[in-house]
């Protein structure tokens, strides 16, 4: 055989193989590129949606109304789909078509979560069955499913059978039968808190928490005294002495006159936490409640048996992240989300008719769970789109730390000398100043209102303002330098050695947490307790 013949035979055999392998590798690479691109688009849309939620809640003045939160979440979900359609910008992938590929949106909230997904509409006998009705019988529509709490049932003997509802921080709700008695109680769990009923003094980590002077912030160019009750701020009109709230740029008069000379929300927070701790240990006898007492929940593979309410265990306080309570809390939250989400996504297969994909919940990484169980966040799933070599199955998790739902340990900034700092700023650690004051991070965000133009009686103009006038410290806030390393803010503050900084931080954390909206609290009773 001649050499040229060998060459020709080689080319005939090798060339097609090389071409086919080349095409195959190219298609795999294209598939991966499309997958990466879809991941980025999904992540951008999720970030847009959570930002919309943040803006709505930060500017909401009707936070004591449950519908306000539902409205904000629905708006955020609608924005997600709009943003997704914009990001894709492909023929055939409009908003309605893309909904087919999103089995669920999960809004991780303070003490539970919402799943936004499609469902088949079922009308009640009294509903409108006409063809002209907005929602028809058997129609597939998307909406929020009922709120699901992070709750777990516990049973001890025959007399104790109750449920604990957890939250993203150390707030819990107890409901059920404890030692034969019906109980409905709620509160924050704090380890080193003491209340002396004789002297009426409360201490946390050795720092006495006192009533503080009146709170002030700006609306527009005018500074007002205010009080925040159950998530709503009430301002005092200095000229008339009357109080009002601010809703959609409009002053809504308030019939009550609240205490304006001082603010004792922080004091109440720590005092009630001390009383709650006493009830848990002494009244309810739950000091020995173990994780193995949990029922109807599969914790196999998780951390082994331990006391849930160990307020101080080997120097670790119950509110710290390494406490047994916190580990158990994280397990419960994760279990609740995983179980219901798997069911919701698997059931989605019953609702789709345009796609042929089999929807399944993807496995989330440990770092993803760490983000979810500690922050208000949005998880979005997208599955079923053909990306060449396979079917796309992706998800995105975006957390938000600047919203009105959760006051985390990192939500407090410290003001000093016209600037605001992160609490672990080196300058603050060494400071002996008396003007250290803690404030909520969302109070430093820009807002806008429409107000009457100067010199006119019916012309309005849009103005921008900051509720607080302090500027961000360049070192610790802008550049994030000259800060002390820390693992957990509450532990850092406990060991920082600066008593004034401790008091400012603890007071702010207590005040802001006490002022948050809580559905368990009766708003009228709460308002009455703050009335002069």
């Amino acid at each position: 055989m001649k050499l040229e013949d060998l060459g020709v035979i080689f080319i005939i055999i090798i060339l097609p193989i090389s071409l086919i392998l080349g095409f195959y590798i190219d298609s795999q690479i294209n598939t991966l590129n499309i997958q990466t691109e879809y991941d980025r688009k999904l992540q951008k849309s999720t970030a847009d949606a959570i930002t919309a939620f943040q803006l709505n809640t930060a500017n909401s003045s009707t936070y004591d109304i449950i519908n306000s939160k539902l409205r904000d979440i629905n708006a955020s979900a609608n924005f997600f789909y709009t943003s997704l359609a914009d990001n894709f910008n492909l023929p055939g992938y409009g908003e309605e078509q893309l909904k087919e590929y999103v089995p669920a949106l999960v809004y991780i909230m303070y003490d539970g979560y919402y799943i936004y997904s499609p469902f088949i509409n079922k009308l009640d006998p009294l509903d409108d069955f006409r063809n002209s009705a907005t929602y028809k019988e058997g129609e597939k529509i998307s909406g929020l499913k009922p709120y699901i709490y992070y709750s777990c049932r516990y049973k001890v003997g025959g007399n104790t059978d109750f449920v604990i509802t957890y939250s993203l921080d150390n707030y819990i709700v107890l409901q059920g039968k404890i030692n034969g008695a019906n109980v409905y109680d709620a509160g924050y769990l704090l380890g080193n808190v003491e209340y002396d009923s004789i002297s009426d003094k409360v201490k946390y980590n050795g720092v006495e928490i006192t009533r503080e002077s009146q709170l002030k912030e700006y609306i527009g160019n005018t500074e007002y005294t205010y009080i925040k009750i159950n998530g709503v701020k009430y301002y005092k009109d200095n000229s008339t002495g009357n109080w009002f709230s601010f809703i959609n740029g409009e002053k809504i008069p308030e019939s009550r006159k609240y205490i304006g000379d001082y603010n004792d929300c922080a004091y109440r927070y720590y005092k009630e936490a001390a009383e709650f701790k006493d009830r848990i240990i002494n009244t309810y006898g739950l000091g020995d409640l173990k994780s193995s007492n949990a029922v109807e929940i599969n914790l196999d593979g998780f951390y082994s048996d331990y006391d849930i309410f160990a307020f101080n265990d080997n120097g670790i306080s119950i509110e710290e992240k390494n406490s047994d309570f916190n580990q158990h809390r994280l397990q419960i939250i994760r279990y609740c989300i995983e179980r219901n989400l798997s069911i919701a996504i698997a059931n989605y297969n019953n609702y789709v008719d345009g796609t042929k994909a089999n929807f399944q919940m993807p496995e989330l990484k440990e770092t993803d769970w760490d983000l979810i169980v500690n922050n208000i966040s949005l998880i979005s799933f997208m599955q079923g789109m053909s990306i060449g070599g396979k079917i796309y199955n992706g998800y995105s998790i975006v957390a938000n730390t600047q919203n009105a739902e959760l006051v985390s340990q990192n939500s407090i900034y410290i003001t000093h000398n016209g600037k605001y700092y992160v609490p672990n700023s080196t300058e603050l650690k060494e400071s002996d100043a008396d003007d250290l004051y803690g404030a909520y991070n969302i109070d430093f965000k820009r807002k806008s209102i429409e107000q009457l133009k100067a010199g006119t009686s019916n012309e309005y103009e849009l103005i921008y303002y900051y509720p607080r006038k302090e500027l961000a410290d360049y070192n610790s806030m802008v550049m994030q330098i000259k800060t002390e390393p820390y693992d957990e803010m509450i532990t850092y503050i406990k060991n920082c050695g600066n008593e004034k900084l401790k008091k400012a931080y603890y007071t702010a954390l207590g005040r802001e947490r006490y002022s948050l909206y809580r559905p368990e609290k009766n708003p009228e009773t709460l308002k009455n307790s703050f009335t002069e």
Binding site: F10, L21, D39, A47, V398, R446, I463, Q480, T483
Partner: protein
Amino acid sequence: MESGNALITVVVIVLVGGLLVVFPMYMIANQNDKIAQNILATETTNLVNDIITTGEFTREKLDKYDQKISATGYAFDTEYTIMILDENPSKKEILANATKIGENVFIVVQKTQVDELLNNQQGKMLLKPGDRVNIRSTIKTSTLSMDLGSFLFGASSKDIKNMAAESSGVVTK
């Protein structure tokens, strides 16, 4: 006549040798480059996503990223830039005139400055919502595919495809 046959034989041998050796080598090396480019682009995007969702820029993440892209068999130069949001100018403008929205500015921190900040802060830099991160990696040397391509097709250095990937994002947490 015989010398003519010998010349043709030599030419054929050279051509066949080229076909049998050089072209397959070039095609395989080219496929290898495409795979490495894809890995580089994916890992760069994943790193930026990780940073913007967690709000943490750490030495550990950079080292893991370096390991992954080095596993392609090539060496890369990685440049990173952080644009830190400064809202103070906007605030000052609004305080002076409430009808003006004011403009935020960004403080640009380049790679050497980021390295210094990471060294000073135990390898971790915390970012806040609104900060922007940009990461770009470029191959240090030319690959076999690039060399063979320039040899075979006489391509100039401008025509040689460079292996690089870039990704950027805005911190959301």
